[in-house]
Structure formats: structure tokens, C-alpha cells
């Protein structure tokens, strides 16, 4: 079964996919969650398939579901009677976050206090997240918030067609309707974004005290397990990441270190302790676009990576194009070396390992570039 050739209706009619959708079979659930994660370029089709299934399976439309959720939230918070009064100030949604680190716990306390004094409105949910009094998102109009309380990634589509997969325990806050000039969302936890291009409506993701300005792309944001650093990794397109103080990036001068621009397979890591961004390559670079010009591809197997007496110059150019990563040679002579071999199914670093080993060379990742060292060939 070649799922890569699937259209939306192929997924929607696939028994295994439906077992995943309806949560009927553990093997299928695991398989599809994995598959979807590994094929972000298929998210559009997957979400079309989900819409199709949801419609026929009589699921309540999403916006109404959000309304119902707010209704039960109000209903529950209005209940004055409680068997254990000490729990009364716990608000509805923030309990999910209690396992988080210290910073989050402080947030939960702030939220709980707010919940006692005022009726729970969704606007209040993000107010305590900001360190300054200024709300990051234009607060006009109703806000929607979506939490993923499950242990699985949860996919959703925003009003503008942007596709978001929220990590377990994460939350996204966005306006019910985006204003005409910008799209701003607020994220806690982590998630994958595939942003619909729109030149007139730039897309901003606010996360803690920094902002990711998206230029039509897909990327992930998440905090590491120890919660000391935040990582933004780009799969396609281009994003700009900067600290929250820069409310209007167009008007302020850009300093080194607190603004970075990322292209595919690059990531920015923001360390709380150092208060600055550091750029590097992602752990596992993924092909951005296949480049087969220099490959001896066996017929019928487009996924194969086989080189036949190709020069290193050609191989490196092919890698650069495929992974959108800059690769440099320590000396010109390396370009003249030849390599033959089957590198199918290996990731970029493994491929470089094999090539370097066979030619008695080495490579090093320096920031967002790769440097190949060796004596070279004549």
C-alpha cells in the first residue's frame, strides 16, 4: 500500500485509517500517528480526510464544540457547593498543567486566583501568561482556546486554513476571527504548525517571552523536558524568531542574538538562563526537496539513494539542495574525490558517515553549516 499516493478519500475509506480515527485498534493508532508525524507534507490531505469522516460520523462542528466546552466550564465554576472547600479555587482548565515546571505552577496559582474573583472568561486565560501588562494579541473580540488533554498529538485547522498539531497537554489560544492585517496565536507546551501563506496577514506565534514570525511555512515549537529551553525547528519555508519586547519588529533595529531567521532544517534554541537564541541544525535533517540529478536511481524506486562514481562536489551539491543546508569543504581537493555506494534509507548524517569513512575524511556540524575535513584527492 503506497500511502504517499493517497488522496483524501483514499485515507477516509481506508479501514486501517478509520480504525485510527475511531480509536478502534491500537496497532493502527500507533501506525498512523507515526506516519502522520513523518509526513508533515501530507497534513492537508489528512485533515481533509478527517473533515470528511467527521461530517459523515456526525461529529458536532468544532466551533459549536468550543461553545459547549465553555458552557460546561461556566456551569462547573458556578456551582457554589463543593464537598471539599479547599479545592474550590481550582479553575477548570489549568489543573491539566499542574505537572509542569515551576514557572507553570506559578501561572496556575495566578489563574486560580483570577477564577475566584471573576467569572471565567477565556480572555483571562492568557492574561497571566504575559510578564508585562500588555496583551500580545489584539484583545478585540472573542478568543478561542484549544487544549489537548489527551496523550496523543491533536490536529486542528484554524480559520485561515493553518494546520496545527498540538502536543499532549498543550494549549493554543487564538481570536475567534483573525483581523484583516495579522494572524496572532498564543501557544503553551508544544506543537507543529503548517501556516497558510498570506502576505497581507503575517502569522505570529507568541510563546513565553518570544515571538515566532512566520513567513508561510511549517515548523515546530516545543520546550525541552527540563523546561530550561525552547526550540523552534523549521521543516519548510522561513521563520523569524525574536524576543517578546519587540512588539513591532518592523520599526525596531534588529540586534544580533535576539532575532534569528531560520530556514529548513535549522532550529533556534532559546535558553532561559542566557536569554538569547542559538542557531544550529535540527537533530535529524529531513529532505526538503528530492534532488536526483546525480543519483543512479534504480527504476521503480524513487526513494533510493545510489551514487555511482560521483564526485564529492556533485554529492555535496545534491545534499545541499535536498536538505537546504550549507556544506563546506575544508580544502578544494575534497571536491575531486569520488564515491560509489548505496545510501538508501539513511538519514543525512548516516550518509555523511559512510562517505567520510570510505574516503578517510570527517565532518563536523558548526552552527547551521556542515564542514567536511580531509586531505582531498587529485
Amino acid at each position: 500500500m503506497d500511502y504517499l499516493l493517497y488522496e483524501a478519500e483514499d485515507f477516509a475509506a481506508d479501514e486501517s485509517y478509520l480504525n485510527y480515527y475511531f480509536r478502534l485498534n491500537k496497532t493502527d493508532i500507533a501506525f498512523w500517528e507515526d506516519w502522520i508525524r513523518l509526513h508533515p507534507e501530507k497534513l492537508d490531505l489528512i485533515s481533509q480526510a478527517d473533515h470528511l469522516i467527521g461530517l459523515m460520523a456526525m461529529q458536532l462542528p468544532d466551533e459549536e464544540l468550543q461553545d459547549e466546552f465553555r458552557r460546561i466550564e461556566r456551569g462547573v465554576s458556578q456551582q457554589s457547593h463543593s464537598p471539599e472547600p479547599r479545592q474550590q479555587s481550582v479553575s477548570f482548565d489549568n489543573v491539566l498543567r499542574r505537572e509542569r515546571g515551576r514557572g507553570w505552577r506559578r501561572l496556575v496559582v495566578a489563574l486560580s486566583a483570577a477564577a475566584v474573583l471573576i467569572p471565567l472568561g477565556y480572555v483571562y486565560f492568557f492574561k497571566p501568561h504575559t510578564d508585562d501588562a500588555r496583551l500580545p494579541i489584539a484583545s478585540a473580540g472573542a478568543m478561542l482556546e484549544r487544549t489537548n488533554p489527551t496523550s496523543q498529538p491533536m490536529s486542528m485547522r484554524l480559520e485561515d486554513g493553518t494546520f496545527v498539531t498540538l502536543d499532549p497537554g498543550s494549549k493554543l489560544v487564538c481570536p475567534a476571527h483573525f483581523p484583516a492585517d495579522r494572524r496572532e496565536v498564543y501557544l503553551e507546551g508544544g506543537g507543529f504548525f503548517k501556516v497558510n501563506k498570506s502576505a497581507r496577514q503575517p502569522f505570529y506565534v507568541y510563546y513565553g517571552n518570544f515571538v515566532t514570525h512566520v513567513l508561510g511555512t511549517s515548523f515546530t515549537i516545543r520546550m525541552d523536558k527540563r523546561q530550561e529551553q525552547v526550540e523552534v525547528a523549521v521543516l519548510a519555508g522561513k521563520v523569524e524568531v525574536y524576543k517578546r519586547a519587540r512588539v513591532n519588529p518592523e520599526k525596531e533595529p534588529r540586534d544580533q542574538g535576539d532575532l534569528v531567521i531560520l530556514t529548513p532544517n535549522q532550529r533556534a534554541i532559546y535558553k532561559e538562563s542566557e536569554q538569547r537564541f542559538e542557531t544550529s541544525l535540527v537533530e535529524k535533517p529531513r529532505p526538503v526537496r528530492p534532488d536526483t540529478a546525480f543519483l543512479e536511481t534504480p527504476a521503480g524506486d524513487p526513494g533510493a539513494t545510489v551514487f555511482k562514481t560521483a564526485t564529492l562536489a556533485d554529492i555535496v551539491r545534491s545534499f545541499e539542495k535536498t536538505y537546504s543546508i550549507d556544506i563546506e569543504m575544508e580544502n578544494e581537493g575534497i571536491n575531486n574525490c569520488h564515491f560509489s555506494g548505496d545510501l538508501s534509507g539513511m538519514d543525512l548524517y548516516k550518509q555523511l558517515d559512510v562517505i567520510c569513512q570510505s574516503l578517510n575524511m570527517s565532518y563536523e556540524v558548526i552552527g547551521t553549516r556542515i564542514l567536511i575535513r580531509g586531505r582531498g584527492c587529485n
Binding site: L55, E63, L65, E68, V76, P83, D93, L96, P149
Partner: protein
């Protein structure tokens, strides 16, 4: 956390567990409610009440083997109590569409939509399906039956049922395509 642990946590006043049960069972209960009665406002109200009562009576919640079936049973009882007998419309698997007074699957699909434009689109899309196609779609997506089960009921092969579903989905997507 497993559902039985969550359920027990609700009894211990855990609002987070309650939220989790609410969110993971909502669509499951909603689809079931729509099967019992085609009025989505009634179903929404019944689910709302059901959960409010669960939280209100959290210190007296019974131990249950399957949270989903427990919630479904209460939901069914609630919906039946709400609707006077003479207005009763059931969507029994085999009798659907037989009684003019009850909502058919296709009517329910249309009524489910929030806005007029979407209602019309869904109606148009469904009308372009054959009777057989609509039936297999209902069995597959609403009754959550396997292709083998549907094939048995229709005295045909799973492959044929798959093809029918696939063709129906293609038509539906064509009509609904602009929405996505």
C-alpha cells in the same frame, strides 16, 4: 491515565480528570445522541446536563466498568425523558427512513450543520449519492462497522463495499471540496 483511573479521580474532586473525560467522550456521546434523536440542540443540552450532574454528584459516582457505556446509558435515558412519546423519533439501524415522522440519517447530517450555507451544501452532496452509497456510508462512518461486517449484511464482498464507499467519498469531496 486510563479512563477508570480518571473516573475515580473525579470522585476525588479532580477537575482535570473531569475535563479530560468530558473532552475525550464528547464526540462519542454526541454521535450516539444523534442516533437516539436527530435534534442536535436537544442532544447538546442532554450532554451538558449529564456532565453537570456527574460533577455535582462526584462524591456519589458509582464504580463503572466502561465509562463510555455508562455515560451512553444515562444520555439515552435523558434524551428519552426529554421527548414526549408522540414526538419520538428513533434511528433504529434497520428501520431508518421507514417512518415519515422520523429524521433519516441524511436529514440528521443536514440538521447537524451550524449555518445555512453549509446545510445546503451537505444536502446537495448527499442528494448526489445513490441510495446504496448513502447506506454504506452510514454503516461505515456512523455505525463504525468493518468492511467485512457490511459485506456480510449486504451479501457481497468487502472489496465491493470498499469501492462503494470510495466512490461515495469522491462524490462528497467534490461537492464539499470548497469548504476545506
Amino acid at each position: 491515565m486510563g479512563e477508570d483511573l480518571l473516573w475515580r479521580a473525579i470522585r476525588n474532586n479532580d477537575l482535570g480528570a473531569f475535563t479530560e473525560i468530558y473532552k475525550s467522550y464528547y464526540q462519542f456521546l454526541f454521535a450516539y445522541g444523534m442516533r437516539v434523536n436527530g435534534d442536535k440542540h436537544l442532544v447538546k443540552d442532554a450532554i451538558h446536563e449529564l456532565f453537570l450532574e456527574v460533577w455535582k454528584g462526584r462524591d456519589r459516582l458509582p464504580e463503572v466498568a466502561h465509562v463510555g457505556s455508562y455515560l451512553r446509558t444515562i444520555l439515552r435515558r435523558k434524551i428519552i425523558k426529554e421527548v414526549p412519546q408522540h414526538q419520538w423519533r428513533s434511528l433504529d439501524e434497520h428501520s431508518y427512513g421507514a417512518d415519515a415522522a422520523e429524521y433519516s440519517y441524511e436529514e440528521r447530517l443536514v440538521r447537524l450543520q451550524s449555518d445555512e450555507e453549509m446545510k445546503q451544501k451537505v444536502q446537495k452532496a448527499i442528494h448526489s449519492l445513490s441510495k446504496k452509497q448513502l447506506e454504506v456510508i452510514r454503516m461505515k462512518f456512523f455505525d463504525e462497522k468493518s468492511y467485512a461486517e457490511i459485506a456480510d449484511l449486504n451479501a457481497t464482498t468487502p472489496r465491493t463495499v470498499y469501492n462503494q464507499v470510495y466512490e461515495a467519498l469522491k462524490i462528497l469531496r467534490k461537492y464539499l471540496g470548497l469548504l476545506f
